[in-house]
Symmetry: C2
Subunit: 196 residues, 2 copies
């Protein structure tokens, strides 16, 4: 069944979708009464493709006719703080947390020698330019946790401090609501190091 296999193949390329999930989704789409979900998904894809772009200042996703984005152009945001994320998707989670009211900068990648990705694959130049031109007091590095992200954060901290900015990293430790026995060793080490 070539058309179904093709659909399963494309779905399996998406993040967080394995082969079995892709099969379930494809079958669900094709067995949905009147193919309502197929139409909704096709419409949503087309609309998003037409209307969504990246903010020219921070790199977040934004409506094409709203550039700079909602956050960059919001006068109520704290303009002296800049939060650096690897991916625009990270901002959705941060905004939902309500823990941060400053501006953002999407790095768009990290240093990954294994994948031959270096500084040129990030927006580091634009970040340093913003730090020099805007009145940024603190740059918070909200990168992922992991070896490559840690190396990227150290490298950025160095560059940012050389550019005269204060650079901090997100705290690491136990996730709230998690039991000690469910947490991996590295996180436990970090939680010890970060004890208050």
């Amino acid at each position: 069944m070539d058309a179904l296999d093709q659909l399963i193949g494309v779905l399996a390329k998406l993040p967080a979708i394995g082969r079995r999930s892709a099969e379930r989704i494809a079958v669900r789409l094709m067995t949905d009464p009147a193919r309502k979900l197929v139409k909704q998904l096709a419409d949503a894809l087309q609309t998003a493709d037409r209307n969504i772009a990246s903010c020219r200042i921070c790199g977040l996703l934004t409506e094409r006719d709203r550039d700079p984005c909602r956050i960059c152009s919001d006068p109520r945001r704290d303009r002296e703080r800049l939060c650096v994320v690897e991916d625009p998707g990270d901002v959705l989670a941060l905004e939902q947390s309500g823990a941060y009211r400053g501006l953002y900068h999407v790095l768009g990648g990290r240093l990954s020698p294994m994948n031959q990705e270096g500084p040129a694959d990030t927006t580091v130049d634009r970040l340093l330019e913003r730090v020099r031109q805007e009145n940024i007091g603190e740059v918070i590095l909200a990168l992922n946790t992991g070896v490559e992200s840690d190396a990227t954060a150290s490298w950025l901290k160095h560059l940012l401090e050389a550019a005269g900015a204060r650079a901090t990293r997100m705290g690491t430790g136990l996730p709230v609501g998690s039991g000690i026995s469910y947490v991996d060793s590295l996180t436990l080490q970090r939680a010890f190091e970060g004890r208050r």
Copy 2:
């Protein structure tokens, strides 16, 4: 960002995709270089929508110009065995296992008083008709495990035996490769009951 929210909302309706996964997928689609994945997904959806239909005999998904489906029209399949599944997607997993070489029948639902779903929401009439008309020796009920599916299987077994067919159910017990301490209580009970 209405277009992005809309896309996230539709993605979150798909099986196996929660809110956070839907966000990650939407962001990935919108940040993919040249939007290649968006185009691939849109094309695959359109092609599948145009070409995929349900087999008029068994209810499996099939190419529109191949009805009856590949399995129903395959002379090498064992035509005396009929395997009843709830959903066409279940057949993908069963075929991959290579454990079965007979024909299929998609029930399309199960008895679910909680969701006001009864016999009319299934293809039970067509199943009994097939059992009477085709030369079926054994009907294997490959329904899911759970209260509603169990009740549906008992009900079908009763009807099938009244129609003169032998009805069996899939064996239940420990999944291969799983440790005792990772398996839920009900599965352990079943494994005890099914001990050989």
